[in-house]
């Protein structure tokens, strides 16, 4: 089941006149996993999601969902997908319950208590009198999630669903999404500007930059290939590198700053390095064992484009 592709895009391209917002994207989303779309603002994440949901036209390429090629607004496919795109959008003058009743009626095929149970799941009151316009940003996000899960979809497409949530809310939503995915077998495609959030949540990741999919990998693969290294901060990089090369026979290192060195030689241990440097009169202010994070990997892939 884990390797079954539930959603795939082939050479997916979106053009606005001469501008290519998204170019030749080949996404492969596996069933029952959380797929994180990473990219800076304007990278093309929302455009991809909108094309998948039929909100914007496809300039080139194709999308396959549940093994079927998407041709238009296929009801049989879209009733199996729940989504939040950009911000949760509801009628400002209606209450949360009224809003969900409207969208449940539009879907037409959902269970009797779907509205009530969806609101319960996200912790919002049923049949309250508060109009949507008076909701806090967190409540709006919760209502958006309630709307997305109301018809018990197989795929959830969530565009920045934790935007505006407080830290507790973010943790709750993360746990909830993990439960949905790992216990109920839902497939979730999520984009977020909070990179650490994606790192904690996603099983697979696609890195989008300037409309291109730079890399698609699983978090397990990333952890396996992540470079582990020792970072030292010294008062003299020149002397320290000479010592590393001559005394410790270490050639596998990089000077990253005027007083910072990253040592990739796995045979060396921290005590050995500290003893050698200190005994030769080099001031050692820091020595830590590190490994490359998703942020480092993202930065290296996007050519130094720091994540916002």
């Amino acid at each position: 089941m884990e390797n079954q592709i539930i959603l795939a895009t082939k050479q997916l391209t979106k053009k606005y006149g001469d501008v290519r917002a998204v170019e030749q994207i080949n996404l492969n989303v596996k069933k029952g996993r959380i797929y994180g779309l990473l990219g800076r603002n304007g990278a093309g994440k929302t455009t991809i999601m909108k094309m998948v949901l039929g909100l914007i036209s496809i300039s080139e390429g194709e999308i396959e969902i549940f093994g079927e090629r998407l041709k238009g607004n296929e009801k049989s496919i879209y009733t199996r997908i729940g989504s939040i795109i950009e911000t949760p959008s509801f009628y400002s003058y209606l209450t949360g319950t009224e809003n969900l009743e409207i969208f449940s009626r539009l879907r037409g095929t959902i269970k009797k208590n779907a509205v009530k149970s969806a609101l319960e799941v996200v912790g919002l009151p049923y049949k309250d009198k508060k109009p949507f316009v008076s909701y806090s940003l967190g409540m709006k996000q919760r209502l958006g999630i309630a709307n997305a899960i109301m018809n018990d979809p197989e795929i959830l497409i969530l565009d920045e669903p934790t935007n505006g949530l407080d830290p507790v809310g973010i943790v709750e939503i993360r746990r909830f999404l993990q439960t949905l995915c790992h216990e109920q077998g839902k497939t979730i495609i999520i984009s977020s500007h909070i990179l650490s959030e994606i790192a904690l949540l996603a099983d697979d990741i696609g890195i989008i930059h300037d409309g291109h999919l730079l890399k698609e990998f699983s978090m397990n693969e990333l952890e396996e290939k992540n470079k582990r290294f020792i970072e030292i901060k010294v008062n003299s990089v020149t002397k320290a590198t000479q010592l590393l090369e001559n005394m410790m026979k270490c050639k596998n290192y990089t000077v990253t700053d005027k007083n910072c060195i990253e040592i990739y030689d796995e045979n060396l241990n921290t005590e050995e390095i500290a003893d050698c440097l200190v005994s030769h009169g080099i001031g050692l202010s820091s020595l830590v064992f590190k490994h490359e994070t998703l942020e480092d990997y993202f930065t290296s892939l996007t050519g130094g484009a720091k994540f916002e």
Binding site: K50, L53, G54, L55, I56, S57, N73, E74, K75, Y78, T79, I81, S83, I85, E86, T87, S89, F90, Y91, S92, Y93, L94, E98, E101, I102, F103, R105, L106, R107, G108, N147
Partner: protein
């Protein structure tokens, strides 16, 4: 289609614009009755009173109707609920038709209530002059002009879809159409052959022409073309629109 229409009705229940438009329009015969009872010193004629009501209703109802559909579409784009609707999923053509249907539903309700109040008012003020044929004529005229006006104004929905969140271009178009509709009653005989082809001018012209006039058919054909074109353009615009 049924689900989409039902949800439009649910939205209508708390739609302030729908309520304001309804109240403004139905107030016209009520206020004119009050004016005739309390302000008019010289007793006015039944036909004169009916004409005044007719003129004002034909001015206010299309404006309110334009406000209604403009606000209805603009809110979907402004609050981005259109995204939730399309991903529900609702067929884009069905969505446009549900908007047109609920607009028509609102329009007919307002028109009927206004007609009823006008007849009631005329019975209060001119009890002896109001015959059953006069009532029939009033209903016929109000309904005919009302429906033709609704059809001629259908391109407004296309403009509203095209303008998305913008309110003013659509409203300006509505006011321009209303202006033309009012000007229709002032068209001279020489201009009639040309004016018949302009759907908004043709609304009032059709009320003045005899049933066997060839110009009446041209008027009705131009109004129907306007309505049909409005629907086709609205569907085409919405189907090709990126949201």
């Amino acid at each position: 289609m049924n689900n989409a229409f039902q949800t439009e009705i649910l939205k209508l229940k708390k739609n302030k614009m729908a309520f304001i438009g309804f109240v403004f329009t139905i107030c016209i015969p009520v206020l004119l009755v009050l004016k005739a009872v309390f302000l008019d010193k010289i007793k006015i004629d039944y036909h004169e009173w009916i004409q005044t009501v007719f003129m004002l209703v034909n001015l206010v109802l299309p404006i309110m109707s334009g406000f209604f559909i403009t606000q209805s579409m603009q809110k979907e784009y402004g609050e981005k609920t259109i995204i939730n609707i399309i991903t529900a999923p609702v067929n884009r053509k069905v969505f446009v038709f549900s908007k047109i249907t609920v607009w028509f539903f609102w329009y007919v309700v307002v028109m009927i209530v206004t007609e009823c109040l006008t007849i009631l008012g005329s019975l209060i003020l001119f009890h002896s002059q109001v015959t059953s044929s006069a009532i029939c004529f009033t209903i016929q005229l109000f309904t005919k002009i009302g429906l033709l006006s609704y059809i001629a104004f259908l391109p407004v929905i296309w403009i509203a879809i095209r303008q998305r969140t913008l309110f003013y271009p659509t409203m300006l178009s509505v006011l321009f159409f209303v202006l033309l509709q009012c000007a229709g009653s002032q068209v001279s005989e020489e201009l009639l052959p040309v004016a018949c082809f302009v759907p908004w001018l043709a609304i009032q012209i059709s009320a003045m022409l005899p049933a066997n006039s060839q110009y009446l058919y041209i008027c009705i054909a131009s109004i129907l073309c306007s309505g049909l074109l409005g629907i086709i353009l609205a569907i085409f615009e919405f189907r090709t629109q990126d949201l």
